[in-house]
Amino acid sequence: MAMNPRNRGPLKVLAALAALTLVLFGAIGAARIWGEEPASWTPQLGLDLAGGRQIIIEPVVEGASGVGEEQVDQAIDIIRRRIDGGGVAEAEVSRLGDTNISVAIPGNPSAEQLEALSRSSQLSFRPVLVAAPVQTLPTDPGQAPVLPLPDDVREQQLEDLLEQAPQDPGAVEEGSTDDAETTDGAYPAGLSTATSPDDASETTEAPIPEAPAEQVSDPSSLEQITPELQQEFIDLDCADDTAAQATAAAPSDQAITACSEDGFEKYILGPVELTGAQVSDAAAGLEQGQGGPTGRVEVQLTFDDEGRQAFAETTSRLFAFGPGAAQNRFAILLDGVVITAPSVNNVISNGSASITGDFTTESAETLANQLKFGALPISFEVQTSEQISPTLGGEQLRLGVIAGIIGLLLVFGYSLLQYRALGLVTIGSLSIAALLAYGAVTFLGWSNNFRLTMAGVTGLIVAIGITADSFIVYFERIRDEVRAGRPLRYAVDTGWARARQTILISDAVNLIAAGVLYFLSESSVRAFAFALGLTTVIDLIVVFMFTHPTVSILANTTFFGEGHKWSGMDPERLGAKRSTYLGRGQFAAPEPPRRTRPSRAEIEGGVV
């Protein structure tokens, strides 16, 4: 059968819709096959459906009236690190509103895990005892593993140590031999300062005469490295997120092992010498040389009185180790992770230090923020903590879906009753909308980690009504045109032109509602708004790309075009006057046109 040229346009649009659907599901398929994390054919379920614990915590900064934007960001970072460190797979940490943090942990986390989450966090300064780069894959397999402290460096250090106080070199010796057995390709500590991204140096603003180091119970003492600690250091795997967890929980007066933030370097650190409370300010800026800015980016660190004294003692001791030694460096830890470990170039006694190194403006900014906002201990107050059993969630989902299907069937039945065969178009449109919604939710689950929650499911079910309404508006408009006497073929076009306007403005309002709710609210409201917005967009796609083209094509068929009794567009049922040419100059007219008043010709006796 030759194609009706009238159908070409609508068919093209239908083909585009089919392509769109194929692309959507093709993308899910592709993501499933090639994606880094394989996509699933089912939507990702939110916590309330899949079961788990939902905690909403509010960071509280001790000694400050409010919580600033940056502090919340930092708190989120901390929580995220803790969650990752807790070994919980697929836990989600997100910001809720201005100050709250939402944590969703699948399964049933233990009380200890929960306790660890709400532990408070603070910046601390510890001297570096041993530093070693971490290399998961040796770049040069032929190269034999090297001691973290090669003989020359070690001897140098030992000499320094012996100068200050009598030391037992055995610990270092032992440590070194142990290290030699590690398979991790390790590099000299001296070298690590150069290769590490944390490469940084300390300079003083106002150089002052050196004070001789004197402490006997030296925090930098390598004596603290017990064989256990040494073993711990060797076993420390910076790729393993639990490391920071253990570090953060370690007591402050003992030596610990730690990893750098980027995981490229690991350390044995002495006890805490300063805490963030003693930092009064930190800022990133350009380094000031003698003749103006040098163009290098630096981070300025200012201590309060107490901090100034402590820092002066620390730097004077560390400076004595001389450049190149691991012990010359000190580490700044935030929540169990070394954020930077600069070496000391000078003794700083005025309480104002500057950290320079390979900073970009951004990295310096980040570090300054970490130093500044980590200064005060952040503790976490649990706002809500909800344990959702997976059976309950699953049951809710099952019943919700059943309710949705029943609702959909009722809508189908009603539209068949109202629109007869045209109701089939409604059914088709709603099915396509459901298919697209399913695809979109599944795909977003993979790409944006969108999770379907109960509120989202409700939003989707409620959207059936909104979507169906577009068809109702459209069909009623067509009917209006048919009532006005237009043949269906033209009624579809004129009816569409008018219905389109109504559909567009009402969907625009729905989108505004969804957008406002999405951006201004939180958690479940957000999920609901997202579902509402998504279905509104899908509604537009379906009405424009499926319903209208289909109706246009159907209008060209005999069944619909001539208004069959069951087509739902039967002009007689709609009260239009059928005027069909019967041939031989005769028309089939069930009733003569009603006139409100006699025509001029009738009154005046006809045209002469």
Binding site: I56, E58, G97, N100, N108, L114, V382, T384, E386, S389, T391, L392, Q396, L399, G400, A403, G404, I406, G407, L408, L410, Y414, S415, Q418, T453, M454, A455, T458, G465, I466, A468, V473, E476, D480, I505, A508, I512, A514, V516, S521, E522, S524, V525, F528, L574, G575, R578, R584, F587, A588, A589, P590, P592, R594, R597, P598, A601, E602, I603, G606
Partner: protein, 388 residues
């Protein structure tokens, strides 16, 4: 259904018409009563805020097989661990018990959880505990109110631009607030618990209400613009016609929107029990129903009321009334004056309106215009070829 379609036709042509705009005093009174009742609910009884707003601990025991005397057993289990806590025990769905108490410390909550599991003979995993801080609900409410204000501002702007008159936006907003006040009032009056999910429901009602009103107003605008051109109808008449023409759509839309929501409501009440699904559905059900009412009976009469004072509307009304009076006079005259006795078929003037019973397809010759019947130059008529 035939009568429904017939009603639709009649409403469309104006053959049958409900005087909705004209009886606006009645609708205003009805709405005023509704609002007063909901205000009594709001301020008299107050809103029953859920645990999310009050703060406290909630424990749910699911898959309970033996439900006898569950209240006492649950209270007892709570009292062992936390003697001072007042426990509210409710049955949710068919086999879940919900126990709400004041704030319990972590350890106590854990202990109560085990006790409850023991008391009802279910495994520990079937008992879930949640804790809600008192400020949580407050945050949600603040956000909701913010969202409401922003939404109202944006929507009024969009509507004012789209309809090119702020009065339509104002009328739509009044209808919207009417729906919102009524829904919240019903909640307060019936003592239904307000949870954050209900809050979402209230916010969604806004969208629905506006949506419904827009569809009606779109038709009102179309009709009134036409009236402005033809000067055949007053503004009120055109608006009333529009409402009548969209009534069928409004009914269909509401039925279609209420069907899924109603299903959730029924499934929620029977099987699921209090929760996001039920709270949302309940709010939406009430909201959609009252939203349909307000778009027809509140928004349009109010719009006409607001616009009646405008100069061009008054000019239109004057012209249309004058035209109608003239036409009535003319018709009366035409009836008095004897018809000019033309040889037209007997079924002509005025008869058409009543002769709808004529069956289609019978092939009765269509009435041809008198001019065509006579033919040019009044030549004598020739019988059709078949009769020759």
């Amino acid at each position: 259904m035939a009568s429904f379609a017939q009603l639709g036709n009649d409403l469309y042509t104006g053959k049958r018409s409900f005087d909705i705009v004209g009886r606006r005093k009645l609708w205003y009174t009805v709405s005023a009563v509704l609002i007063v009742v909901s205000l009594i609910g709001l301020f008299g009884r107050g809103i029953n805020f859920g645990i999310e707003f009050r703060g406290g601990s909630e424990l749910r025991v699911s898959s309970v097989s033996d439900l006898s005397d569950y209240e006492a057993r649950a209270s007892e289990a709570v009292a062992v661990e936390a003697p001072e806590a007042v426990a509210t025990v409710t049955l949710v769905g068919s086999d879940t018990i919900r126990v709400q108490t004041g704030e319990l410390p972590n350890q106590t909550a854990e202990a109560v959880r085990t006790d409850l599991a023991e008391a009802f003979g279910v495994p520990d995993s079937e008992v879930t505990s949640s804790f809600v801080g008192p400020s949580w609900g407050e945050t949600v409410t603040t956000k909701a109110v913010q969202a409401l204000i922003v939404f109202l501002l944006l929507v009024s702007l969009v509507l004012a631009i789209y309809f090119r008159t702020w009065k339509m936006a104002a009328a739509a907003l009044v209808a919207l607030l009417h729906d919102l006040a009524f829904t919240v009032g019903i909640y307060a009056l019936l003592g239904i618990e307000v949870s954050p999910a209900s809050m979402i429901g209230f916010l969604t009602i806004l969208g629905y209400s506006i949506y419904d009103t827009i569809v009606v107003f779109d038709k009102v605008r179309e009709n009134t613009e036409q009236a402005m051109d033809t000067r055949r109808m007053t503004y009120a008449e055109a608006a009333n016609r529009a409402v009548n023409q969209t009534i069928i759509r409004s009914i269909n839309t509401s039925v279609v929107a209420l069907l899924p929501v109603g299903t959730i409501l029924v499934v929620g009440i029977v099987f699921i029990g209090p929760g996001t699904l039920l709270d949302l559905a309940a709010a939406l059900f009430i909201g959609i129903a009252v939203g349909t009412y307000s778009s027809i009976f509140v928004a349009t009469p109010l719009l006409v009321h607001l616009r009646e004072g405008e100069d061009d509307i008054q000019a239109l009304d004057k012209a249309a009334t004058k035209r109608a009076t003239r036409r009535r006079e003319h018709e009366a005259q035409g009836e008095e004056g004897s018809p000019t006795g033309e040889d037209v078929d007997a079924t002509t003037v005025g008869g058409g309106a009543t002769s709808t019973s004529a069956a289609p397809g019978q092939g009765t010759a269509r009435q041809v215009h008198p001019y065509a019947q006579r033919g040019p130059r009044n030549q004598p008529k020739r019988p059709p070829k078949s009769r020759r």
